[in-house]
């Protein structure tokens, strides 16, 4: 995968196919510690213990629900190339949390990429699932929670391409401001979506 946000999409889709209806996606970047951490946590049906132990083997999969397989092994390989690590905490019945870390400045670390597109695809593609995304960069934070969005949007559905298309523009702009640092105004006033 060329972007970490594509791995996030892939792992989140796994969770949804495992029956989750709520996903927590986190990205934490620290310049001081030179780390980038991402995690995807779901409330799906989890992974049996014997599969978790062999999570990095691309030829291991639960197959019936595609909970493990090629995707996690690709993410594991990406962390290993960048002085990072992957942990998978899963118990059948309670869900799964995949956490991957990288040395942020490592030359082989893929860029985070188009996180706004990943979130738009998840929200539009699965309008009945709730997502919470939090992204921290050196103590500053962007949070998007689809439960808040649904409450504010009232009758407008997150299954509407028009609505999610506009929401994605806001997300993109907010994440650009987050990445640009504290010197820029975080205000989104005047945005014409």
């Amino acid at each position: 995968m060329r972007e970490l946000s594509l791995h996030i999409l892939d792992i989140a889709e796994n969770g949804i196919r495992a029956g989750a209806d709520h996903l927590l996606i986190r990205v934490e970047e620290s310049g001081a510690r030179d780390r980038l951490m991402l995690s995807v946590e779901d409330n799906g049906r989890g992974i049996p213990a014997e599969k978790v132990r062999r999570i990095e083997d691309p030829f291991v999969t639960t197959r019936r629900n595609r909970r493990v397989g090629l995707g996690l092994s690709l993410l594991a390989a990406a962390t290993r190339r960048c002085e990072g690590d992957i942990t998978v905490e899963a118990r059948p019945g309670t869900g799964t949390r995949v956490t991957a870390s990288f040395r942020r400045s490592h030359i082989d670390r893929a860029p985070l990429g188009d996180m706004a597109a990943t979130l738009a695809v998840l929200i539009l593609g699965h309008p009945h699932i709730d997502f919470r995304y939090s992204h921290r960069v050196d103590g500053r934070e962007f949070v998007l929670d689809t439960r808040d969005l649904k409450a504010e949007l009232g009758g407008l559905s997150l299954g509407e391409p028009m609505v999610v298309h506009r929401v994605s523009k806001f997300i993109r702009r907010a994440l650009e401001e987050l990445a640009a640092g504290p010197n820029l105004s975080p205000s989104m006033e005047g945005t014409d979506a």
Binding site: M1, L6, L9, D10, E13, R17, R66, G69, L70, G71, L74, D114, A117, T118, A120, V121, L122, L124, G125, H126, R140, E141, F142, V143, L144, L149, E152, L153, G154, G155, L156, G159, E160, P161, M162, V163, V164, H165, R166, V167, S168, F170, I171, R173, A174, L175, E177, L178, P186, M188, E189, T191, A193
Partner: protein, 121 residues
């Protein structure tokens, strides 16, 4: 801290509510982007992003755009299924943003199946 504010949401609501209220009702067509690991690695996210933009630009709210799992045809990803109410679904293979925009314009809006992109023909 950048945040999606209530004002932003009101803006979205105002801009979309009119278009949507004109076409409230059942979805006439569903477009499913197959979003397995194979699809994502082949560009399914960019295909769905372009699809969302094209459907939004056409101001169609009778079209559902969904994500689903792998079809089992990993070599021809990204695969996209177009299903009109009451018709057999059509699976398009090896989609990219330009091709999916053609599918929206010619098949979804124009009713013409694009045989050159159809899987297994």
């Amino acid at each position: 801290m950048p945040k999606l504010t209530v004002e932003d949401l009101k803006h979205i609501k105002a801009k979309t509510a009119d278009a949507i209220s004109l076409r409230l009702g059942k979805a006439r067509a569903t477009i499913t982007v197959h979003m397995g690991t194979c699809g994502i690695a082949a560009g399914a996210r960019e295909v769905m992003k372009a699809l969302m933009g094209e459907v939004a630009a056409a101001e169609r709210s009778d079209v559902r755009v969904l994500a689903a799992g792998c079809l089992g045809k990993c070599a021809s990803e990204p695969n996209v299924t177009v299903a009109f109410e009451g018709s057999d679904p059509v699976v398009y293979q090896k989609m990219d943003p330009a091709k999916i925009r053609q599918v929206v314009q010619r098949h979804l809006l124009g009713g013409e199946v694009l045989n050159e992109f159809v899987l297994g023909r």
